[in-house]
Each structure stands twice: as structure tokens, then as C-alpha cells.
Symmetry: C2
Subunit: 338 residues, 2 copies
């Protein structure tokens, strides 16, 4: 257990995790199982997304897996009933894919969010919801670090749709009294992230490349600085947010106080791996037009109000993650949907 003080809140509780076979969802599920929660995972296992059955290896018997798509509003109407908590993490996360297939992104990141909220409103209005939003909605930062008050100015279809999805949650809180908290995640990394390609996180793809003996490509001049949260820290934030009354109706940034440039990150990955190479390459045009440049979050609001701050240093988290993929990568992640 990361946060022993939180376990009692979930002991015996009924918890639904959308995107539950995905990266953050499955790590969250592990914590909840340890806390004694009755966990149901909803996931569609779409090939290009983060869901992977291996993500729940070892806890298969302790959770209920319901393979269904959050776009299926009828299933959702049933599944949200009698849940104490909904961790709403299902989403299309690829910025590039959102530009190529904007309707698909809209169906998942807008329409499905509405249907989850409608289901909760009609079937289970007392449920506690934590929604996974994203730093992407801020677009290119006007000032750093980025606070929750920073203007919302998404630079891709995914960012626009995630904004709508977030705002539906806040609206259903304001108008219908549903107890909702929004977390705006920055780059999250760790065991069980999708590493097959750069759809979910470029860092995951880097780890797979370096473990496969391939070069890492760093786009542009590599000086873009970003902040990273280890998945256990992100999971702690979800659990904390779900249990605190003062978090209802609130939006919180997650983030890290030590942003790192992409070249330094590539160098660190090479160093931790013990071998490997990285190189600067020009930005592909489709990525350049939606790149947000430097980004790191001001997470002082959640630190002040809920006492959250990241515990895992990037170096330690990356070492742990490399270790995980060295052990499981080729068999369970290289080609699997996760």
C-alpha cells in the first residue's frame, strides 16, 4: 500500500474503473484490491489504446472484468449502479490519432463522458467520481509553471474533446449535485503503460526502443522541458481525491517540481539502461503543429488542499519501469495491445 491511511475508505467499497485494463486504471485497481475494495474494470481492449489483460496479472481473481466500450451507453447504465466510486479513466489519448480520426476521439472523449454522467445521474446520483483530465487542455503554456487558472486553449482535437469531457463532469456537479473531482494529469509513466508505439506516451515508446537496442528519436532541439509523474504517485492522487469532501467540485493539477528537458531525459534513459543511443531529429510536420513546447504544472493546489505531492524521483521511477519492461516487455507488451 502506498497510502495506508486511505485503505479504510475503500475496504469493502464497490469501485468501477473505466479504462480499467489500461495503464493508470490497472495500477489503481491493484491498490484498490489491496485496500479490500470490490473492483470492477470496464475496458474495451481496443488495439490502439492502453488496455492489456497482462496489466492485471496476479489480480485477475480479485477483480471483475467487464469488456465493454464506454460508448455503449446501455451497458454503462447498468454498470454504474450501486457503485460507491467511479474512477473515470477511459479515453482516447493520442493527439495524433485525434487529428486523423476526430469523430472517434469525439465519441469517446465527449459523448461517452456524457453518457457515463447521464447514467450516474439517473442510476446512481450519490456516486463519487474522479475524472482523469489532462494538461493537454491548456495548450501552449503562457506562463510556467501552469496553474489551474491558466487559460484553456487546446491545440488539437483531443484537447478540445477532453476539455468538453472535463466540463461535463463539473457541470453535472454544479447542476445535479454529483460529487465529482477532476485531476489534470501531466505525463505519467511507469509499469503497464503502452509501449508499443508513441500513442499514449512517447516515454513508454522510448523504453521499448532502448530495450530493443534501437535509437531514441528526440524531436526538434530536444530542449522542451516537461514534468513527469510516476504512476504510483498518480494513483495516490486518485485515491486521495476520491476520499476527501473538500475535493468535490474541484480541479487539481498533478505535476512535478523538477521538469526535465527531452535530451536530458533521453540521456537518463540511456544511462539507466546501461547502453543505447539517442539522436535529434526534425519534428514531423503532423506533430510540430500540435506540440505544446515547454510544460510543467503548478501542483500547489492539491498539495495545499489534499496534501499530495509526488514521492518517486524520476530516476527511481524510470529504473523501476525499465526493470518491469525488461522482465515482461517482449512477451506481454511489445506486440500486445498494451
Amino acid at each position: 500500500m502506498l497510502r495506508p491511511d486511505l485503505a479504510p475508505a475503500f475496504n469493502g467499497a464497490r469501485v468501477l474503473i473505466t479504462g480499467g485494463l489500461g495503464f493508470i486504471g490497472s495500477n489503481l485497481a491493484r491498490e484498490l484490491v489491496e485496500s479490500g475494495a470490490r473492483v470492477m474494470l470496464v475496458d474495451s481492449l481496443i488495439d490502439e489504446y492502453g488496455g492489456n489483460l497482462f496489466n492485471i496479472a496476479g489480480i485477475e481473481e480479485a477483480v471483475t472484468v467487464n469488456i465493454s466500450d464506454v460508448r455503449d451507453e446501455h451497458s454503462l447504465r447498468y454498470l454504474v449502479r450501486e457503485q460507491d466510486f467511479v474512477f473515470n479513466l477511459a479515453g482516447q489519448t493520442s493527439h495524433i490519432d485525434s487529428m486523423v480520426a476526430p469523430y472517434n476521439d469525439l465519441e469517446i472523449n465527449c459523448r461517452s463522458q456524457l453518457s457515463i454522467l447521464e447514467a450516474c445521474r439517473h442510476q446512481n446520483p450519490d456516486v463519487r467520481i474522479v475524472f482523469a483530465s489532462t494538461r493537454q487542455i491548456y495548450g501552449r503554456p503562457r506562463q510556467l509553471p501552469v496553474t489551474e487558472d491558466h487559460p484553456i486553449h487546446p491545440v488539437d482535437v483531443n484537447g478540445i474533446n477532453k476539455t468538453a469531457g472535463e466540463w461535463y463532469h463539473l457541470l453535472y456537479g454544479d447542476v445535479y449535485g454529483i460529487r465529482v473531482t477532476v485531476l489534470r494529469l501531466t505525463n505519467t509513466y511507469g509499469p503497464r503503460m503502452r509501449v508499443r508505439d508513441a500513442r499514449q506516451t512517447f516515454l513508454g515508446y522510448w523504453l521499448r526502443l532502448i530495450l530493443s537496442g534501437e535509437h531514441l528519436d528526440v524531436f526538434g532541439d530536444g530542449r522542451q522541458r516537461r514534468d513527469f509523474n510516476y504512476v504510483d504517485d498518480a494513483v495516490s492522487a486518485f485515491l486521495l481525491a476520491a476520499t476527501r469532501d473538500e475535493a468535490v467540485g474541484q480541479v487539481y493539477n498533478l505535476g512535478d517540481a523538477n521538469p526535465i528537458s527531452l535530451t536530458d531525459l533521453a540521456q537518463l534513459v540511456v544511462e539507466l539502461n546501461g547502453s543505447g543511443k539517442w539522436q535529434l531529429v526534425p519534428f514531423p510536420a503532423d506533430r510540430k503543429s500540435i506540440d505544446i513546447g515547454d510544460y510543467w504544472a503548478d501542483f500547489s493546489k492539491i498539495e495545499r488542499e489534499l496534501g499530495w505531492r509526488p514521492q518517486v524521483e524520476l530516476r527511481d521511477g524510470l529504473a523501476e519501469t525499465l526493470h518491469f519492461y525488461r522482465e515482461h516487455g517482449a512477451r506481454s507488451y511489445w506486440d500486445a495491445s498494451g
Copy 2:
């Protein structure tokens, strides 16, 4: 012609107006026909929306009417071809309806906007688009008058979806170079608005009530102040925006420098009608939760950059509108879809 200097830009031009049988769309069509444009109107004539065939009485022979729904992406792919201008006005505009039927609002105000933009991107990337956005996206004003930099904070599903629709337009401008201008409209009134109920504008419904000898209900204490644009002024802004290169990629508020309280407005309507009564009534709960309170826009940006400002005084515009509905209301608007 309202603006004789604009006519040459449209003479012989091919123009598509979505929502073209609606209130603003049909008034815009009249101007464009006078300018010598070849005008196609796309409208679905959905009962609850603003489309009404009577709105084009007198210009039926001068325009092409294509009855179709903007949700029909296949039709749109064809219809946008070879157009010089698209005035994109189709929308679900009822705030209350958006809460009762949120998917419907999403399909029209989000998904259809994406499909119009995708159609333009693939079929006609050189088209010039002006999109009708709304003050609703600002939510409850933090300061007055509201500038374009005011935070976006919609308070209903309609506001969230209109925000997404607006942002898709700006994004397709940024990423694909489509020449787009966004106008954020305030309350617009005038001949051809929907008066059958308060779905589109409460003021239209008031006019119908007073002309039918019924009382006007003013919600709350009636002190909420709002600004109003006569439809001819709004039409001028659309025409102006479409013709000016410096408007590409820009967002402009429309508005009026003389906001009026709802009680004063009710009194003015009664006075101009020569008879009638209004009364204060408590806010219905469903309206109170999404009411935005006082609102008036700062329209100095469009005044400074494009030279637009409203020309028609509220008293004159209202008198004109009352005259229109006294003549045509009972036969063509009371029960017709408009």
C-alpha cells in the same frame, strides 16, 4: 443594402449558409441575394429549431434550398464543394433543451461542426468560413463588459458544446490553414426569429405573448442586464468578417454599448406595443441553475479592427420587429416551426 461597400465582394460569389432557413441565416441570405451572390441554404427544418420556410418569402426563387441536416456528413461533403463562403450558423441553441437532451446538442453543436470542417478541409480548403458562436461560452461574467479574453466557463451543455464547435474552427484554421472567423453573438433579435416559445430567444417569445394579449413573465427580480443586437447589425458583422483578411483566425464579440435590465426591456416592449402587462415570477429551477446573470459584451475589438458597431437602437429595432410579427406572426410564426 446595409453596407453597400460590401456588395462587390459577394457579387457572383457562391455562398453556403448552414441554418439558412433560420433567423439570422435567412436575414443574411436576403442581404447576400441583394449583393448578387449565388446562395444555397442548408436547413433541416427541425420543429424545435429556428428554420421556417416563411423566412425566405420573397427570395425563394433567388436562392437554392437544400433540406438536409448538418449531422449528415455525406451531404455536407458534397454541398461545401466550390463554395466561396460558408456562413456556418446551424446549431441547437436552446440551453434548456441541451440539458434535457445532451446527446442531441452534442451531435449538432460538436459532431456536425467537425464534419463541416472535415468536409471543407478535404473538399474545399480555400473556402472562407464565418462561424456563429455565442456569449454563452463565457458563462457567468467575472467582469463587465466581457472581452474576448474573458475566461471560458460555460454553465450548460450547450455552452460546452458550442465552445468545442468554436475551437474546432480555430484549430482547423491553425493546423490546416482554413480561413475561419468566429463571431460570438450576444442576444440577437428582429424579424424572422423563432417566437413560438423561448427556445431560441426569450425576447421573441415575449413579442409573441404581448401580440397575443398575454402577460410577459420576467424571471427573478428582473434586474439582470443584457445587451441586444438587431439582426441587421449581426448580419453586417458576418458579411464584414467574411471579406476582411485581417479577420482570419480571429474571434470577435458582437454586443451593444447600452445594456438594459429585463424589467426595463419588458416595459419597453409594452410601451412600443401600446398595451400589455409584465410580471415578476420566480425563476424556474431548471433555468436558475444555468442562468448567467448580467451580461454585456465589450465589442471594441471588432470595432477597432473591422469598423463594426451596431447601428440600430433597441427601441427602433423592437418597433420594427413588433411590426413584422403583427403582420406575419399569427399566420407564419405562432405555430410554425419558426
